[in-house]
């Protein structure tokens, strides 16, 4: 295991953690809104949120690259503010990963909020809980399994991401080269031993993660409810 591989692994982990945390914070209000409104706007937003599911990652990455590049409006806007262009940088990877994993966070959260139904929140209102209080004391705990599912899917999805990070990040070792790109590089240069080692580590991380989630889910499930 070379130090470059370790760095790539570390970048992947940082990217996955940051993407997951930011998406959970941003998507919880969005999912709450989507779960409780039935409007025409909801159809459009649902479709937009789901777009990364069907869009080829290279297409998403390509558009983001154009957008964030020196000629794109996002790149220009950031430059006007004196900030560096996110293209070929870690911050660009985070933006790309967040868009790419968006549906994996919004959908489980929205479904979990929807499954709570109106009744539990009405009960809380009759027990003197304000709307904000109801959200944190009833909706969030009842949706916690959905949040865990969302976090795991997002983390694993970001760890395994390839097309988007390659397009936006440009495979710069030590800055934007993630573990999945490093594996591709090893395989391409026929260094199967290195590819094996890195792949095994990713496999182990994903398995351990899923084991943790399933055991938490088991504990959270109220006794007597079906799986």
């Amino acid at each position: 295991m070379t130090s470059a591989d370790l760095v790539a692994l570390w970048i992947s982990c940082q990217l996955a953690i940051l993407t997951t945390v930011l998406l959970l914070l941003l998507c919880t209000p969005l999912a709450w809104w989507l779960a409780r409104r039935d409007s025409r706007a909801r159809v459009l937003i649902d479709a937009l949120v789901s777009l990364p599911l069907v869009l080829p990652p290279t297409v998403l990455g390509f558009y983001l690259l154009i957008l964030m590049g020196p000629a794109g409006w996002l790149g220009r806007a950031l430059q006007a503010l004196g900030l560096p262009s996110p293209a070929f940088s870690f911050s660009g990877l985070v933006i790309g990963s967040m868009l790419y994993s968006l549906p994996f966070v919004v959908q489980p959260l929205r479904d979990a909020f929807q499954a709570i139904g109106r009744r539990a929140l009405e009960v809380a209102a009759t027990l003197r809980a304000s709307p904000m209080d109801r959200f944190f004391s009833v909706a969030v705990p009842l949706a916690s399994r959905g949040a865990i599912t969302a976090a795991v899917l997002c983390f694993a999805h970001t760890m395994g991401e390839f097309g988007v990070v390659l397009m936006i990040g440009g495979n710069i070792p030590g800055r934007t080269q993630t573990a999945s790109i490093a594996i591709f590089n090893h395989a391409e240069s026929l260094d199967y031993g290195a590819a094996h080692r890195l792949s095994a580590i990713l496999l182990a991380i994903c398995l351990v993660l899923l084991l943790i989630v399933y055991s938490i889910n088991r504990r959270l499930r109220p006794a007597g409810t079906p799986v």
């Binding site: 009744r119 003197r128 009833v138």
Partner: protein, 357 residues
């Protein structure tokens, strides 16, 4: 002290047009057929339903009018829903404390241990709602509502999804709460039996409109309402326990028009109770019967005769002392005895159901 309701609501399949004042003491039952708007009215009172044209005032506080809408969590109403509504992420204790914790200490009127004792749920505190029976869940839900120290308790058919044994247990507990607490209750039901046991006032709601509103006995015995054609039509009388006859296992209670013998109850003399007399258990005689097996015979005056749903029978409203009693007899008997409005006769009552009060 009252709850003033002006609610107008029009939907494609349903309309509600209510304009009335409910006394804010005792138990007011809202009775009527399914789909008649009972639950919607209750939800409007709680603020769970926001109707465009409504004016709702509780005592001196406006809850809703053209300019304002006080949200549910600021109305201090307790609400017991028809089906189980316990929070799945909390155990029973967590459910009970949910409302309690949100009431400032000096406003708390019900203590945790009191509510637990009243509803008999000591053994359930560590359980989750999935582990409870239907009756246990409703008992916890009622205790939870009481612990939020409501100024008005709203109950939406709390017994309708329960089996008979749980129903009668919970009904007894509700009677006890009515007598122990000074919290006014509004009780939605489509069971006349529940209404007769619990209600002080009765509001009849039919197709979204108030058909009648008044004291229980008065509404139960009004002959112009469909209520008294029900199979179990009857009346409810206030009574006081007088004495016990242990030899024959009977208790005697005083009513305004005399005294009644009822099955022995372990209640102390002087205790106020309510007795229920069904119209089908009352027969009429022109003279006091001699050598009859019927113990309860009361002098009565005929107030009104009306046709019954069954063409062979008539319903007769009687004045017994200051109370109104219904009798269901055959048309043939009415003709043979020459019964007419104003006749004086004797009401023989086969069985009297005594309801704890």
């Amino acid at each position: 002290m009252s709850l003033s309701l002006r609610v107008a609501l029009r939907r494609a399949d349903f309309s509600l047009d209510v304009n009335c004042d409910l006394p804010s003491s005792g138990v007011t039952a809202i009775f009527g057929r399914s789909g008649g708007g009972k639950t919607t009215l209750l939800r409007c009172i709680a603020g769970l339903e926001r109707v465009g044209h409504a004016h709702i005032r509780f005592n001196d506080r406006v809850w809703q009018d053209a300019d304002q809408f006080v949200p549910t969590h600021r109305r201090s109403v307790g609400y017991v829903f028809q089906e189980s509504s316990l929070f799945a992420h909390l155990d029973v204790r967590g459910n009970l404390e949910f409302g309690l914790r949100r009431v400032p200490e000096q406003q708390r009127r019900v203590r945790l241990d009191e509510a637990i004792a009243w509803l008999g749920i000591e053994a359930l505190l560590a359980h989750r709602s999935a582990q409870l029976s239907g009756g246990e869940r409703q008992r916890v839900a009622i205790a939870r509502a009481l612990l939020s120290s409501p100024q008005l308790l709203l109950l939406d058919e709390p017994l309708s999804s329960l089996d008979e044994a749980s129903k009668s247990q919970l009904l007894a507990q509700l009677e006890h709460l009515r007598d122990q607490l000074s919290i006014p209750m509004i009780y939605v039901s489509h069971s006349l039996g529940e209404v007769m046991r619990l209600a002080d006032q009765l509001l009849l709601l039919d197709a979204g409109r108030v058909q009648a509103l008044g004291p229980l006995q008065q509404i139960l015995t009004r002959t112009d309402l469909p209520l008294h054609h029900e199979l179990d039509a009857g009346t409810v009388l206030d009574a006081v326990i007088e004495e016990h006859d242990p030899e024959y296992h009977l208790s005697y209670v005083a009513i305004s028009g005399g005294r009644l013998a009822v099955g022995m109850q372990g209640l102390p003399p002087g205790r106020h109770v309510r007795v229920r007399i069904d119209a089908r258990d009352v027969s009429l005689a022109l003279q006091p019967p001699v050598r009859s097996s019927i113990t309860n015979v009361l002098a009565a005056r005929v107030v009104e005769l009306t046709a019954d749903r069954d063409a062979a029978q008539m319903l007769i409203k009687l004045a017994v002392g200051g109370d109104a009693v219904l009798a269901r007899v055959t048309r043939r008997s009415v003709a043979q005895l020459g019964i007419a409005a104003g006749s004086s006769l004797y009401a023989q009552i086969k069985s009297v159901a005594l309801m704890n009060s």
